[in-house]
């Protein structure tokens, strides 16, 4: 029998509860030393302490700032260049090998360069975040523009739509679902790289707080911050998905899914 919606919710909630209970009991039973993995209740206590600290909120703000600014830059550049490269076939052919080459370069390779050029500045973080998330958007937008229906394009031509009209009414609606996929991927990647920059370079933010907690032996605080990073990740995923649904509400694929 297929579990219904309500039952699924209960199963999910009990799964989560079981997970938390497991993490409480394993260290208490001594299966794992609690200096490696403190019980859930102590992590929750450390989390509550963190929530009362202004430093924690400052770090959270720093992380979110790096994430948001970097993501905005990457999306702007990715969409702009993607529309350009995608709509000129010669340009697309000439750049595809370069894009394929630059894209898999791990952006962590730029860490030493970022440190030399910008130190622990916000710009270091932005360099990593933008490099990593730019390709996600660009590749998707190029693919989206390529997917434009030639008949629709010809129709727009015969109706006398200008270059902007064609981009606005034919290219953009086709590329938008792709662009939103790129945005969703980029949003997750940007968070990973923002936290990496803080962890490795020491830019202010959650990642640096985690590194500091680890070196100073504040184990429950470290886990509490990791939990916050995870919740931030969940939030970013949910928000990106909600935005995608909102922006693409007109799209047949979204309309079909609606209850």
């Amino acid at each position: 029998m297929r579990p219904g919606r309500r039952q699924r919710w209960w199963l999910g909630a009990s799964g989560l509860l079981g997970f938390l209970l497991l993490l409480e009991l394993v260290p208490r039973a001594g299966l794992v030393p609690d200096r490696y993995l403190p019980p859930t209740s102590r992590i929750a206590g450390a989390l509550a302490d963190e929530l009362g600290e202004p430093a924690f909120w400052r770090a959270l703000g720093d992380t979110l700032q790096g994430w948001a600014v970097g993501l905005a830059l990457a999306v702007g550049a990715g969409v702009g260049l993607g529309l350009l490269v995608g709509s000129v076939p010669a340009l697309r052919a000439a750049t595809s090998s370069t894009i394929e080459f630059l894209r898999p370069i791990p952006s962590v390779a730029l860490i030493p360069l970022a440190v030399l050029l910008f130190g622990t500045d916000l710009r270091s973080k932005l360099l990593l975040v933008v490099y990593a998330s730019f390709w996600q958007v660009l590749v998707q937008v190029v693919a989206g523009v390529r997917d434009v229906d030639p008949v629709a394009m010809d129709t727009a031509h015969s109706y006398g739509l200008g270059r902007w009209g064609r981009i606005r009414h034919v290219v953009w609606p086709t590329a938008l679902p792709y662009a939103m996929t790129g945005f969703r991927l980029a949003a997750a990647v940007a968070l990973i790289l923002a936290i990496t920059a803080e962890l490795i370079i020491g830019s202010p933010g959650l990642g640096r707080e985690i590194a500091v907690a680890q070196t100073s032996g504040a184990v429950p605080a470290m886990y509490a911050l990791v939990v916050v990073a995870g919740l931030l990740g969940v939030g970013v995923n949910l928000a990106a998905r909600a935005l995608e649904r909102q922006v693409l509400a007109w799209h047949p694929a979204t309309r079909r899914e609606a209850p």
Binding site: L11, F19, L37, P104, A109, I111, P112, I200, A211, Y223
Partner: protein, 258 residues
């Protein structure tokens, strides 16, 4: 387009960009942006010597070990979770949360548990790579063809044969997608686990160069990481074409002659 022209189009821009870099940096006086000639000389000096065996190959071995561990665990768990509706419903929130934890924060946790040796790095890589493989396997197992499923039941195919011919085969395109995502995460984790705390390895060496202001050497390291990323992704694409040849052929046949 003829083959020669296609090659020309593909290599044209990269060659032009490299030439531009070469010329523009040829008599660069900037300390941070040395001439490309110097970087390439440093590349040959640094990476084609004993460092290849001491630093580069161990890093790659750890990456592959971590990836292999994650693949085995991810596919095994994915088959179990994807096969049961209830289990999936129960685990979904937990998996969503674990997947959303940015993998680099695992580095401090595993340093705590396993020190800074090889074990820590392999654990970090495999636990970061696990989630994309696991979640994609779950999706692949879930979306298996119902007719094939019924056919298997009707013919009494069960146990390992069912697993091999129905479940894993149906999930394999998704598993490969998961592996590709995992590879990208694995490279990141390989580098930063060595940058954060290590005494050897690719990431460690590059950071040492940066701290010692050995700028051409540092650039050569960045170049090497880029090349590794590209070579690994090309290698993976070759592997995918080989493993999923049947699938791409099927898709082409379904789409009809074009």
């Amino acid at each position: 387009m003829t083959a020669a022209r296609r090659v020309l189009v593909a290599v044209g821009l990269p060659v032009a960009l490299l030439a531009l870099w070469w010329v523009a940096s040829a008599d660069s006086q900037s300390f941070y942006l040395p001439p490309l000639r110097q970087i390439l000389e440093a590349f040959a000096d640094v990476w084609l010597g004993p460092r290849l065996v001491d630093d580069v190959l161990p890093s790659l071995a750890r990456l592959l070990a971590g990836l292999a561990l994650a693949a085995v665990a991810g596919v095994a768990l994915g088959v179990v979770v994807g096969g049961s509706l209830r289990l999936r419903a129960a685990l979904e929130p937990v998996l969503e949360f674990l997947r959303a934890i940015p993998p680099p924060v695992l580095v401090p946790i595993f340093i705590l548990v396993a020190g800074i040796g090889t074990t820590m790095k392999v654990l970090v890589i495999s636990s970061g790579c696990l989630w994309p493989i696991l979640l994609n396997t779950v999706e692949g197992v879930r979306a298996r063809d119902e007719v094939l499923e019924d056919t298997c039941r009707a013919y009494g195919i069960r146990g390992p044969a069912r697993l091999r011919h129905l479940v894993l085969r149906a999930a394999s395109p998704q598993i490969v997608t998961g592996l590709r995502q995992a590879l990208a995460i694995g490279i990141i984790l390989m580098v930063i686990s060595e940058m954060f705390a290590a005494s050897s390895g690719l990431g460690f060496t590059i950071i040492q160069f940066q701290r010692g202001f050995a700028i051409p050497e540092m650039w050569s390291g960045i170049l090497l990481l880029g090349l590794l990323g590209v070579v690994l992704s090309l290698g993976f694409r070759g592997l995918e074409r080989w493993v999923l040849g049947w699938y791409h052929g099927l898709r082409r046949a379904q789409r009809g002659p074009s």
